[in-house]
């Protein structure tokens, strides 16, 4: 599988990152098999979080067995110094490892949170101490929030080495600053910060729960994923072709093999084909009357 430099970290990440939330829906034996399966494809970057049910615990055994082959990303939703330290200790314990390669501020959403994490008593102070003590190697940030906020974070956090954010043809086809994750990608590239793409496989929202109760959803994703093999491939190719360092799989284990196959076969996507994907998403999602043309 193709690898790309993850910013200035010195690590070359595979173009697909394993989102280990998928392990949460499997028993331990199935989780072990899935990790082996992902490693068989050469994937070398894993991402997990304490909020993903018991994914940390289920990742543990195979992570420890293959520790040298895996660049491990983890994250915390804590914003304070104390909270971040507490969650880091907990994750290290649950994963059963000495060190996390990339520790990320998880799901930044508001300006106040950015102020908080960058303050003296903020999470990043804890991150930096942990880095000095050799418990983490690199600092990252994740957000599905406003692109402007991520741009601010890139400007304000000097030692930020990766950012994780949504990128797919649906948002790429929309104008307006609130969808401008391309600007985040461009700024991160300028600063040589690694870029990790989420929601690449999002097809749309689930129907309202009175139409489709949560228990009847066929996939364990926060959004309705695309599911046909050629759509999965197209979405992967699109995300990888935008220039992200690495694309994270949809969270449902049923989709993982298709995504691994797409990642293993990735061979670029030309610009006319990228626009074709954007254009289709735009029409599928359009409030404008039906049109004869593009």
């Amino acid at each position: 599988m193709e690898t790309r430099p993850l910013g200035d970290t010195g690590h070359d990440s595979t173009v697909m990152t394993f989102g280990a939330i998928a392990l949460n829906w499997l028993e331990q034996e199935g989780a072990n098999q899935l990790v082996e399966h992902v490693l068989d494809y050469g994937v070398n970057h894993f991402d997990v979080a304490p909020t993903y049910g018991d994914a940390e615990l289920k990742l543990g055994p195979k992570l420890r067995q293959h520790r040298e082959e895996i660049f491990l990303g983890c994250k915390t939703q804590e914003r304070t110094y104390e909270g971040a330290w507490r969650k880091l200790d907990r994750s290290l314990n649950r994963l059963g490892v000495e060190k996390i390669d990339l520790y990320q501020v998880h799901g930044l959403e508001y300006d106040e949170e950015l102020n908080e994490i960058t303050g003296d008593d903020g999470a990043l102070t804890g991150f930096r101490e942990a880095k000095e003590q050799g418990l983490i190697d690199h600092i990252g940030l994740t957000s599905h929030g406003d692109p402007g906020l991520i741009l601010d974070a890139l400007d304000r956090i000097d030692d930020l080495e990766s950012v994780m954010f949504p990128l797919n043809p649906v948002v790429a086809g929309k104008d307006g600053d609130e969808y401008d994750y391309e600007a985040v990608l461009a700024r991160a590239d300028e600063k040589n910060v690694g870029t990790l793409g989420i929601k690449a496989f999002a097809g749309g929202s689930w129907p309202p729960t009175d139409e489709l109760p949560e228990a009847d959803r066929p996939f364990a994703n926060w959004y309705r994923p695309v599911t046909a093999p050629d759509e999965i491939r197209e979405r992967f190719d699109f995300a990888a072709a935008q220039g992200l360092t690495s694309v994270i799989n949809a969270g449902d284990p049923k989709l993982i093999t298709m995504i691994l196959e797409a990642a293993a076969d990735y061979d670029g996507m030309d610009e006319a084909a990228q626009r074709s994907v954007i254009e289709r998403a735009r029409h599928d999602d359009s409030p404008v009357p039906e049109q004869l043309h593009h």
């Binding site: 086809g173 104008d175 307006g176 626009r275 254009e279 049109q291 004869l292 043309h293 593009h294």
Partner: protein, 258 residues
Amino acid sequence: MDVPDTVATALGDRPVTGRRCLEAGAGMGNATAGLLANGAARVYAVTNDPDHARTTRRRVADSGVADSGGDGSDGDGSDRGNDADRLAVLKADLRSIPLPDGSVDLITAHGLCNVLDPAALSTVAEELSRVAAPGAHLVVDDYDPLPDGTAIGELFAVENAASELARCRPALTFYPAAFLRRFFAGHGWEFERERTLLEPVPWTESHVSAHADEAASMAAECPGEAGDTLSATARRLATEIESESVGRMYSLAFRRPG
């Protein structure tokens, strides 16, 4: 109002800021959106379809196109304030454009030529050349003919058959890029560049259903049983096809000698 990537790509290397622009055949006003967003001083959106005129007007009025006009300078100093103020939607036939000679600096024909049969195309090209100022730019975005044996091609064939029977002219003519390039050169336009906008072209469920509706409404004008058959075939194809990605959409850019 989002500017489609096709339009953004076609206009990307054209000077729009501060220019007087004409969208020939406004459709849903997609090129108009791009021209306003790129800082056009004025946009004339010409269409003979009252629904299209209304849609274009409403889309611009509702949204307020984001103005990201180039370097932020005002070009010729004209008013670049409110989008609606910079837009004039003209309900008119492109074979007789209600604008004076030499009055526009940039013309877009985005997805226009395929709805013009050769006779109409010929007259429209003369009109576009007439209203263009010396040194004006022309952008022609359209589709290459589809390869043989496509499902969407079958639907277009039904649409064309119904149109021929009802109105004695085809609904759709897909001119190859090389054809339009030489054709506009023959009208005195200097060719500047060609780009591929979409390949493959995603004919989505929404396009398929719009074309099926178009075919059915023309079939309703056809005399006798042929109309019923064509209408039924269009409906059947719409259900069978759903969507298909095939063919190429291109962008040609020309310049009027200064």
